[in-house]
Symmetry: C2
Subunit: 348 residues, 2 copies
């Protein structure tokens, strides 16, 4: 057995604290990764707090993982010891359904196996995520990571990156399109980078004037203050796409009105309750709302390769493992530019 | 001036009653149509009752109009006296914006000129709809109607027909697609006919077991009772498209769950208040909701030609003009198969 040091939530209320557990020895098709950096996603907080349903405690969050291969099973052909590797939001899926066959494992008919808060397929062994020293994953669910990029900024690509990359690619967003990004956090800042990189004209929509300089530094061409009625009026019917990353309560219709005819609002954040949708707002301009969920292994690899080629990483604040509870508090106040990443060396 | 007999709503409360008014003489680019049949749309009721905002009273409803050309202006080249013709939901638009240039006048930037409850462009002369003996319209906003079809069943094509035809065409619905139709009324029965005609496998979703035989007679391949939880469970993730024609309050999320990955729910009915939309329902299968609004003149003509070629008409109950208030009452109880059409000969 492999001894692992980690940080875990033991229940919905108390702060995360140290946790030690054992992982099974590396299987024939598995690789063992020494985790170097683990990004901190809002999903980690929601899951740890039980916001999205009962959690499996102790819960070790973390699904934005980069590290180094330290062991490979006998059948492993895709990775060698010493190579850099990444693990995202899932570590397994049924491999048989249409979505799995098409490489869209995130939509697996049986449900993907989450990197944490799931059970290893067909067992009662919980999966434990990236807030730990090492992880063991089937080679088919591990990503290659380039050594050209700063690893700290690569970790968040595994969730925040692919979550915004995937719908922009699915909808073929690029040159000639006007794209608005709603919400400047972990997802929003990656959305700006990707949309701009794909050639679109990007506008950051925000309630806070202080974000204008930041948004433009990230690559946004324009900034619009959504609290100003005159600005909102002037932007009616002007965007081809809105990438909506907001998971707090907000009015969809206000933003839908900013879409052109045939425009689409992409939803990657999930407000806690259902948001009222006015049918006429869609009907009068043939507008759409589309949801999108991370990406499959194939597309995640494509995204990582694209980032290596175009020098794209997340903007991060590196923290030690024992800062995690303070980091959660700050994330709940949107006080991070734009992603916390845990330096796992701090746990050894 | 042309003397016109009509039926009008004089206010939001009292029944419709006779109304006489004058129309201007036929302009150089206009045709005068003797109205033979006028379909009765739910929009007529909503507008007459002021449900969608202040109405211009006296209000003459009716935007599913077929008749015969009885006079043409000196510049008219598209129509000759004696030909059959149709008029739908609008009689003018700006003609300059991108949508008008593309033949999608329903999305005119300045707003289309409604067949009723609007003002003739640049004037304070109200437009009066199809519950009348004659109408005068610019030739560019008039449709050619084949003499191969039963005219009574053609009238509803001008709104119920194009409203369902347009989104199915826009989304390229056809062979290999599974399509569900929600709501078996004026719109729903046309949706079944078109979707089946385009080669899709069609399921009628209904709360009423009594509608099964009717739905199948219209061309639906399957019928599903939405009040049965086991049926709904078995239909989860099974449709490529749902054409949602319901304008009463209902839960979008229940039906969105029936869509496959990448599936789209088309909304052509507008519930009175905003319906709560659960983001996760869209996110977990990359589902979409899209609104759609009638169609432009070009597409409406294409639809009428398609109907003539494929022998498609609406199923109608023909009524006399003075039955209109009873017809409204029955429509509010969904007691019509599937569209009332006024025989305008009853008014002379």
């Amino acid at each position: 057995m492999i001894q692992v040091k980690a940080f875990a939530a033991y229940d919905a209320e108390t702060p995360l604290r140290p946790f030690e557990f054992e992982r099974k020895e590396v299987g024939a098709n598995q690789v063992q990764i020494e985790i170097l950096y683990s990004g901190v996603c809002h999903s980690d907080i929601h899951t740890a707090k039980g916001d999205w349903g009962p959690a499996i405690y102790p819960l070790v969050p973390g699904h934005e993982i980069v590290g180094k291969i330290i062991k490979t099973g006998e059948n492993v052909t895709k990775f060698e010891v010493g190579e850099l590797a990444g693990v995202g939001c899932f570590v397994d899926s049924c491999r048989k359904c249409q979505s799995c066959i098409e490489g869209e494992e995130q939509f697996c008919d049986e449900g993907m196996t989450g990197t944490y808060n799931s059970y290893e397929r067909g067992t009662t062994t919980p999966t434990y995520g990236g807030y730990s020293t090492t992880i063991t994953v089937d080679q088919d669910y591990v990503l290659h990571v380039s050594d050209k990029l700063d690893l700290k900024g690569v970790a968040p690509l595994l969730c925040a990156g692919i979550t915004t990359y995937s719908p922009l690619r699915y909808l073929k967003v690029g040159k000639g399109h006007k794209v608005a990004v709603l919400g400047l956090g972990g997802l929003g800042h990656m959305a700006v980078k990707f949309a701009a990189s794909f050639g679109a004209e990007v506008t950051m929509l925000s309630t806070s004037p202080s974000k204008e300089a930041d948004a433009k530094a990230l690559g946004a061409h324009h900034f619009a203050l959504t609290t100003d009625p005159a600005t909102m009026d002037s932007l009616a019917n002007s965007f081809d796409f809105i990438l909506n990353t907001v998971s707090a309560k907000h009015d969809y219709n206000t933003y839908l009105n900013l879409l052109k005819k045939n425009g689409t609002m992409i939803i990657v954040g999930a407000p806690p309750a259902g948001e009222p949708l006015q049918a006429f707002t869609l009907i009068f301009k043939r507008r759409s709302i589309m949801g999108s969920l991370i990406g499959g292994i194939k597309e995640t690899q494509e995204m990582l390769d694209y980032c290596a080629e175009h020098n794209i990483t997340a903007d991060v604040e590196v923290i030690d493992m024992d800062y995690i509870n303070e980091a959660y508090d700050r994330m709940n106040k949107s006080d991070v530019k734009y992603r916390f990443v845990i330096d796992m060396a701090s746990m050894k």
